[in-house]
Amino acid sequence: MTVKNFEIIEKPIEVDHIIRKVEDRNAGAINTFIGTVREMTKGKKTLYLKYDAYIPMAEKKLAQIGKEINDRYADAKVAITHRIGALEISDIAVVIAVSTPHRADSFDASRYAIERIKEIVPIWKKEHWEDGEEWIGDQLENNAYPLGVPKEEDVIDD
């Protein structure tokens, strides 16, 4: 079976499975970032989320992030899986695992990965609240908006 280190899936993500992909005899550290569905954001109660993706491009962009990490951090191994579809509160949306020989790099590379996901990976989240629903956009405020800026309520810092 081929192991895919950069994947978009529709089923629940098994964290252990992602961690196993980055195990290495010369790793001294594995940092794992798990993004989960939070109930309250700025006083608003989320009921559930829907994620959609441009799957082939999203997997390519996740792999690109992995490559960027390999260029920056010696001997890093990276695996990223993002789930799409309907997610409930506390469900895992994304798991990033990075192993490196030394611990500082594992933290920095994992952080780098989640920030890059929010910049370049074509995945979208639609929040469903009690009183409505909305596609959430641009959580970084640093994309190009040639014709306008995102509304304040769109900018979520999670």
């Binding site: 994304v94 979208w124 596609w135």
Partner: protein
């Protein structure tokens, strides 16, 4: 034929995930055509474009068989 993909609020507001045009055009020209067809979908103006799964500038010429996607601000993670 050139296939056009729309996502998230672009898909929702146009009611289409997939469209097509027959003529070769630049990214900018395709964007303008879509904005003319769907003037209420203002997000089309600010969406990034990707040609064959790579982000592309406005000047890129989209050829027969290519795939262009309009990518509104992403929110994965």
């Amino acid at each position: 034929m050139i296939k056009i993909l729309l996502f998230a609020e672009l898909e929702e507001k146009t009611g289409k995930r997939e469209l097509s045009v027959s003529m070769e055009m630049t990214v900018e020209e395709i964007r303008k055509k879509l904005l003319k067809d769907y003037p209420h979908v203002t997000g089309l103006a600010s969406a990034m474009a990707a040609v064959n799964e790579e982000f592309a500038d406005e000047s890129v010429k989209v050829r027969q068989g290519d795939l262009i996607a309009f990518i509104p601000p992403v929110s994965g993670g």
